[in-house]
């Protein structure tokens, strides 16, 4: 089981945290502090697993971001390493060549995506297409709600409509807004 997910930047800034076991606020800060010390100091050509407090942390660096997942001693490390990559690919598809800035300003989006991939620290969906479809549906629900403040049933009807429309090719919803902010983009994926 994945105990928590942690995204930290090269500078040690936290970009996303998700805890699947009960940690108090104090413990969370401590974990982040300790772990960034361990992970950020590791050289580039070492293995992606670190033994830490009787658990294992599987991590991978994408551009300036470290994606870390903490698992139990006996869990399958490579499997989790590929869950990380799966997550990154989906982010990449969603944001359209994702970069750290996407995740900074759209951290809530990253949470939505993560919630479609993991629940209770276990992999929920291994199809990128399905995840993309579900996120798109959520986005359109939000859009619709904004457009017309009508009754819930109305929204649902619309949402299901849209979902059906979007079944074919997977639409990457609205990745344009970021260009407005004029930040340089660096691709995260190492494909």
């Amino acid at each position: 089981m994945i105990q928590f997910v942690l995204l930290i930047s090269r500078q040690g800034k936290v970009r996303l945290t998700k805890w699947y076991s009960p940690y108090t606020q104090k413990e969370r800060s401590k974990v982040i502090r300790e772990l960034s010390g361990v992970i950020l100091n590791r050289g580039p050509k070492l293995c992606n697993f670190v033994e830490w407090r009787g658990q294992k942390v599987v991590y991978k660096r994408y551009a300036s971001l470290y994606f870390c997942m903490c698992i139990d001693q006996d869990d399958n490390e490579l499997e989790v390493l590929e869950i990380i990559h799966h997550f990154v690919e989906i982010l990449d598809r969603y944001f359209g060549s994702v970069c750290e800035l996407d995740l900074i300003f759209n951290f809530h989006k990253a949470y939505y995506v993560l919630d479609e991939i993991l629940i209770a620290g276990e992999l929920q969906e291994s199809s990128k297409k399905t995840v993309a479809r579900l996120i798109a549906a959520q986005d359109s629900l939000v859009e619709t709600a904004k457009e017309q403040a009508s009754s819930i049933s109305n929204i649902i009807a619309q949402a299901t409509n849209r979902r059906k429309q979007s079944n074919g090719s997977c639409p990457i919803v609205n990745g344009r807004w970021l260009t407005k902010l004029h930040f340089p983009r660096h691709s995260l994926t190492e494909l």
């Binding site: 800034k13 970009r15 996303l16 945290t17 998700k18 805890w19 699947y20 009960p22 108090t24 606020q25 982040i32 050289g43 050509k45 070492l46 293995c47 992606n48 697993f49 670190v50 033994e51 139990d72 001693q73 006996d74 399958n76 490390e77 490579l78 499997e79 390493l81 590929e82 869950i83 799966h86 900074i104 300003f105 759209n106 809530h108 989006k109 939505y112 919630d115 629940i119 209770a120 276990e122 992999l123 929920q124 969906e125 291994s126 199809s127 990128k128 297409k129 399905t130 959520q138 986005d139 629900l141 939000v142 709600a145 904004k146 819930i152 929204i155 649902i156 949402a159 807004w177 902010l181």
Partner: protein
């Protein structure tokens, strides 16, 4: 898009990003928090203008962002939770996500949301269902579990729900099950679970398989029907049948699902159906053989994730030898590759492989490669390191951590440690020693501890052991704990042959210019004790030894000076006739330290000075240290404890644990071909140890000692348990002083002598002892295990009574020492050798026991003892008691009846309490079952009485079968809360000598120890029918006064 409408949030994030330093950032965050707080507050008080949902949404996102940055957000939780009940999707979504990220399951606010969450789950809005299930799945606690589980189950199996809801329901249920296993009713659920595995949608199937893994890890028996389904899933994936394109990952059909299905299979003990087994092995074979190393990293990782899981499954299933060696060959390939992940996992899995018997030899072939992994793979980098080290220390550390992969090294070290045995110990330990000086600092401590343990465990001869430890101290003195050098001293003291060698070695090290302080300690100690054995060698005259040690005095700390002072005193003592010059120097040193501020040094200086003026009497006072009692090495114990602690509930670990407990019991498995006695675990005492696996030598020892005893057949393996338990009691009788016990008890017993008798104290040594105990010490001990007062030991001179009180994990024992003679007993000494799980404090024992008073009353000396039980264990504390009567020194070792059952409190439970508990403790290691054979036949009533006297309260009527017995009790120890233990005995009316016993408790160690304890008691019940030990004819004293029944007097007092 959400953000375009949430300008405030992106402005805030930009502001934070633009903060030049942490302080500014904090100011900005504080300002924002203040702002949010006022907005939330004003809403509550004024009701003027409530916050719009949009505003609330914005603020809780900001809160989450601030929380993520690591600041404390201790307000506004209510607002986040309240968004959950918003009617519209966008607000609800934010409410759910922020709540599940900000809070954890223990927050009270969650309770407020339970109703809304439930309504969303049972409602008909699919998107709301998804949100609610996700939140509960991510943070659901106990209360959620109780109120929501049935609804979630319904969603999971409902045919009208779409896959997107059902896959979330599966994982949500998994979370709830983890919090409270009772939410899944096994009887009804097993079939449903099997049906779920027929699912076509791979998303739902992946989630359901995760759920299955959790279910079978707790109770595999109920889910047998799922086993063939898992194999089917694997076949489907392996053949790539009916797998939609979107579910293949870099061309591999859902690697995650493959891994999960194989993980689930590892929780079933075995696969009986030959057809299923065959098809599974076909799949496994295909995975093992068909996985190639490819260029694409992700494809490689995914296929190897599957491969390693397949390896684990093969190990678990105990495949044929051929397949196993195939696996070892694969792993051998992996540990040689450059790719660090694969190498790491290769090493890790090889360690796991060690638990499979009969592949060790093939693993050993890879020893050289493993050692390479431990060492630096890149010579160039090492050179850089070395050159930098001489200039600046801090830089060198950086380079070191960059160049080596610490994780891989640790795996390699673990593996070497695990694969070490007598055959390769010398090589491995020497490699470790060699590597020690190059190893990074973080690893040295572990490395030296492991080297010390291996050296002790597998030393081919003792001088090698001494060499290794001295080298260890020399190379990594800072990392060598006191335990390690104490242990060397123990070995040397107890083995005379070793003493000159050790002393000579110590002398050599002292010649080195700079040595570690620990080395000063150990060599000073050894030379103080044994330097006289070297006297004829060059450079080893007392004076030279003295001066070489004394040279080190200015460099050592105050903890070492007392040792040096003792050494000086001993050297003086050995210099007979006294060398006036040396004497003068040493006295001057003692004089100098007489006013030392350190009390220990001062006292020693004063005392040694006074003693050394006594001349020849010094010989007695400062004689060589007596032998140490044999005890388990503190190091080994530490290592074992650490391993047990980290054990978790998983297929692989469970197996490891079972092996562990064997290791604990049999201490050391000797090679089956009967390797010579010198090989194997070091024995502290030179006499043959009494532990069960050494019967042959024990017998030899016996017949040599007595010349009368015939060989006794080796006991079956099960007896080893007892042998080892009582092993520590094996003592060496110092010539002419030890108490003589009846040598005939062993053969005098009716029927098959019990194991306890073999292991009990048996005579070794010469037949010159004069004092014989009265009565059987073993019987007395067993009787005292059942009651709290009575006689522990008696001989013609003394009687030791005992009275105990027990309260929870604490106990108070009073020893009553009664002198039966008319003259005083002098030099009385009592020493407690406690096992690690007991903390015992013995108050002062008077040196003299006054003689019996004129009246017919024993003058009793009372020695109270305070006990505290730290954790469950069957080890027994030993009282080493000695006194002098006339010219005879009498020395006995007695087991103290502070046994496991003393820390039990009987408790009777009703059927309603018993069965849920019994069921929830569903299998090893919490619940253990064993068929015990060779039980002393007892009627059910007798057994009930026996159990009750062990403080196991028998609960009649709980078990429908009248031949069975159910008992319960509570165990107290300092480290745990009171633990409820449940015991069930199933007897066979047709054959009373066998029964099946099941013991369950909330702690694996406790369960194991209690089971073994009860087993011992059932196998060797101290019966009244045992013939009284024949009174030793020769040694009975003629003093009639001693025969006026002191036992009765004592009993009256107790």
């Amino acid at each position: 898009m959400a953000l375009s409408g949430m300008r405030g949030l992106s402005v805030f994030i930009s502001d934070i990003r633009n903060c030049p330093n942490k302080e500014q950032e904090r100011l900005r965050v504080d300002k924002e928090l203040g702002n949010i707080r006022t907005r939330f507050k004003s809403e509550k008080i004024a009701y003027v203008k409530g916050l719009t949902h949009y505003e609330k949404k914005k603020y809780v996102w900001k809160m989450l962002y601030i929380h993520m940055l690591g600041y404390d957000v201790d307000f506004g939780h209510m607002e986040a939770v309240s968004l959950i009940s918003a009617p519209k999707y966008p607000e609800k979504q934010v409410g759910y996500i922020v709540t599940s990220s900000l809070l954890n399951e223990n927050h009270d606010f969650l309770r407020l949301a339970i109703n809304t969450v439930r309504n969303d789950i049972i409602g008909r809005n699919e998107t709301f269902q998804c949100l609610a299930l996700t939140m509960v799945g991510n943070i659901g606690g106990r209360e959620f579990s109780e109120s929501l589980a049935p609804d979630v189950q319904k969603l999971l199996i409902s045919s009208s729900c779409r896959p997107l809801v059902r896959k979330k329901a599966a994982l949500c249920l998994l979370r709830l099950y983890r919090k409270n296993p009772d939410v899944v009713n096994i009887d009804g659920w097993a079939d449903r679970m099997a049906q779920l595995l027929d699912e076509r949608d791979l998303g739902v199937l992946t989630s359901s398989t995760s759920l299955l893994v959790a279910l079978v890890s707790n109770n595999h028996e109920a889910y047998w029907s799922c086993l063939p389904k898992c194999v089917k899933i694997l076949e489907r994936l392996a053949r790539n049948q009916d797998i939609p394109q979107e579910y293949t990952y870099y061309g591999i059909p859902s690697p995650w699902l493959q891994v999960k299905a194989m993980r689930a299979l590892q929780y079933f003990p075995t696969i009986e159906d030959p057809n299923i087994r065959r098809s599974l092995f076909e799949v496994l074979q295909r995975i093992l053989m068909g996985t190639d190393v490819v260029k694409n990293v992700n494809k490689n990782n995914a296929s190897h994730a599957v491969l390693f899981e397949a390896l684990a499954l093969v190990m678990h299933l105990d495949a044929e030898k051929e397949m196993m060696s195939q696996c070892v060959a694969l792993l051998g390939k992996f540990i040689a590759v450059r790719e660090p992940n694969i190498r790491y996992l290769g090493l890790e899995n090889m360690s796991r492989m060690l638990m499979v018997t009969d592949v060790q030899d093939s693993i050993k072939r890879h020893q050289a490669q493993i050692i390479t992994s431990l060492k630096d793979p890149d010579i160039r980098l090492t050179l850089i390191t070395l050159s930098v080290t001489s200039n600046e220390k801090s830089i060198s550390l950086d380079v070191v951590s960059d160049a080596f992969d610490f994780c891989i090294r640790r795996r390699a070290l673990d593996l070497l440690y695990g694969m070490c045995d007598v055959s390769n110990a010398k090589d491995i330990v020497e490699e470790l020693l060699q590597y020690l000086s190059a190893a990074d600092f973080a690893m040295r401590e572990e490395l030296s501890l492991k080297a010390a343990i291996l050296a002790e465990k597998f030393a081919p001869d003792l001088s090698w052991y001494v060499d290794v430890i001295l080298q260890l101290i020399d190379k990594a003195g800072d990392f060598v704990s006191d335990d390690i050098w104490f242990r060397v001293v123990q070995f040397v003291t107890n083995n005379e042959d070793l003493q000159p060698y050790a002393a000579a070695k110590a002398r050599e090290y002292l010649d080195k210019p700079a040595i570690h302080e620990t080395m000063v300690k150990v060599s000073a100690y050894l030379l103080g004790e044994y330097s006289h054995l070297l006297a004829r060698r060059p450079g080893c005259s007392p004076k030279e030894i003295f001066s070489v040690i004394h040279e080190k005095l200015p460099t050592v700390s105050t903890t070492t000076i007392p040792i040096l002072l003792s050494t000086y005193a001993k050297i003086l003592m050995h210099t007979q006739p006294a060398d006036p010059e040396l004497q003068k120097i040493v006295w001057a040193i003692f004089n100098k330290y007489e006013s030392c501020i350190d009390v220990e040094i001062q006292q020693r200086a004063v005392e040694y000075f006074a003693l050394s003026r006594k001349g020849a009497a010094l010989m007695d006072i400062l004689a060589e240290m007596p032998k140490f009692p044999e005890r388990q090495s503190a190091l080994l114990k530490k290592a074992e404890d650490a391993e047990v602690d980290s054990a978790e509930q998983s297929a692989i670990k469970l197996r490891a644990q079972q092996q562990m407990s064997n290791a604990l019991v049999v201490t050391d498995q000797r090679p089956a071909n009967g390797a010579p006695q010198t090989v194997g675990e070091l024995s502290l005492v030179k006499i043959p140890s009494m532990s069960g696996d050494q019967h042959a030598s024990t017998d030899q020892g016996l017949s040599q000692a007595n010349g009368t005893l015939t060989t006794v057949d080796p006991q079956p393996a099960s007896v080893d348990l007892l042998g080892d338990l009582l092993g520590p009691l094996a003592i060496e009788g110092p010539p002419g002083a030890s108490v003589q016990f009846e040598p005939n008890t062993v053969s005098g017993l009716e029927g098959v002598p019990s194991a306890a008798d073999y292991a009990a104290i048996v005579p070794v040594g010469e037949q010159t002892n004069t004092v014989q105990p009265i009565g059987n010490i073993n019987e007395r001990f067993y009787a005292l295990c059942l009651k709290d007062s009575g006689v522990l030991y008696e001989d013609p001179n003394i009687q030791i009574g005992i009275k105990a009180e027990w309260r929870a994990h604490q106990g108070r024992l009073v020893l009553f020492l009664g002198n039966k003679n008319t003259s005083p007993l002098v030099s009385v000494q009592a020493l407690i050798l406690p096992p690690v799980h007991l903390k015992i404090e013995l108050s002062l024992v008077p040196e003299t026991i006054p003689p019996r008073a004129q009246v017919k009353c024993l003058e009793l000396v009372q020695c109270p003892l305070e006990l505290m039980n730290l954790h469950p264990s069957r080890d027994v504390a030993v009282l080493e008691f000695s006194y002098k009567f006339g010219t005879n020194m009498v020395n006995v070792k007695l087991r103290l009846p502070a046994v496991l059952n003393k820390f039990l409190q009987p408790i009777s439970v009703s059927a309603e309490e018993f069965f849920p508990q019994w069921r929830s403790l569903s299998g090893p290691p919490l619940k253990l079952q064993e068929v015990v054979r060779g039980v002393k036949p007892l009627s059910l009533i007798e057994m009930t009485n026996l159990f009750n006297s062990f403080r196991l309260s028998v609960c009649p009527g709980l078990d429908p079968n009248p031949n069975n017995l159910v008992a319960s009790t509570t165990f107290y120890s300092e480290s745990t809360r009171p633990m409820l233990c449940l015991i069930r005995i199933e007897t066979d009316p047709a054959d009373l000598t066998q029964l099946r016993m099941t013991v369950a408790s909330g702690d694996p160690t406790l369960t194991f120890e209690l089971k073994e304890f009860i087993k011992e008691q059932l196998v060797s019940i101290p019966t009244a029918s045992r013939p009284p030990a024949p009174a030793p004819p020769a040694a009975q004293p003629t003093n009639p006064a001693a025969l006026t029944d002191p036992g009765a007097l004592l009993a009256g007092l107790l």
